[in-house]
Symmetry: C2
Subunit: 126 residues, 2 copies
C-alpha cells in the first residue's frame, strides 16, 4: 500500500466565514492562511489545516449538521484550557474521563459544531 502521512485538512461548513475565522483565531490561535469568498483556511499546526467552508458555496462537496472535531492536548494543558475557554466566552458543555486515563472537554463553535480537547489515554493508540 502506498504511504500516507496523515490528515492534512479537516473541513467544517459554516454560516458566516468571518465569524468562524474569528472564533478559531481568538479561541485557538489558528492563523488565517487563505481567505476567499467560500473558504477560510486556518493553520492548526505546520502539518494541519482546518478548512472553514461557507455552507452551500462549493460545487463538489458540502455539509450540513453539527460535525465533530477533536484536538489533542497534553495533560499539563488541560487546566489552562478549562480556564481559557470560559474567559473567551466558550461554555464547556461536558467532560469525560476515559478508562485509559485520558480526559476530554466538549464545547461548541459558532455553528454548534462539537469540538473536543482530549489528553492522551483515550484510544488504544493515543
Amino acid at each position: 500500500m502506498p504511504p500516507l502521512q496523515g490528515v492534512l485538512e479537516a473541513s467544517l461548513y459554516v454560516d458566516d466565514l468571518e465569524r468562524s475565522a474569528r472564533f478559531y483565531q481568538e479561541v485557538f490561535g489558528f492563523a488565517v492562511i487563505h481567505s476567499g469568498d467560500r473558504l477560510r483556511a486556518v493553520r492548526v499546526t505546520d502539518r494541519q489545516v482546518l478548512l472553514l467552508f461557507k455552507k452551500g458555496a462549493s460545487a463538489d462537496h458540502d455539509g450540513e449538521g453539527r460535525l465533530h472535531l477533536a484536538f489533542a492536548i497534553v495533560p499539563e494543558a488541560l487546566q489552562a484550557w478549562e480556564r481559557w475557554l470560559p474567559e473567551h466566552g466558550v461554555v464547556i458543555e461536558s467532560r469525560k474521563a476515559w478508562p485509559r486515563g485520558g480526559h476530554s472537554i466538549y464545547f461548541r463553535d459558532p455553528d454548534q459544531h462539537l469540538l473536543e480537547l482530549v489528553t492522551p489515554g483515550c484510544w488504544s493508540i493515543y
Copy 2:
C-alpha cells in the same frame, strides 16, 4: 494561549458502518481500533483517528452531505497512489496542480465524501 498538539479526530457521517470501515481499511490500510453500533474508529497514524459515525445515530452531533477530507502524501508516493486507487475500484475524479508545486488527486468514498491526497506545495505552510 494554552498549547494544542493538532487534530486528533476528524469525523465523517456514513450510511453503512461496515461498508465504510472496509473501504478505509482496504484503500488506505486504516485499522479499526473501535467498533460499536454507531461508530467505527480507524487509525490514520499514531496521532490521528478517523471517526466513521452512522448518520443520525449520535445525540450531540450529526452530519449530512458530502464532506471533504485531505490526507498528506510525499511526492514520491503520488504515482503509486495513481495506480493503487483504480486497482481497488476507486475512480480518480479530478487532479489539480497547485501554484506552489503540490499535486492533488480527488476521489469519493462510498458516501460520496470528497477525499484528497495532496503532496507538499499546496498551502503556504505545507
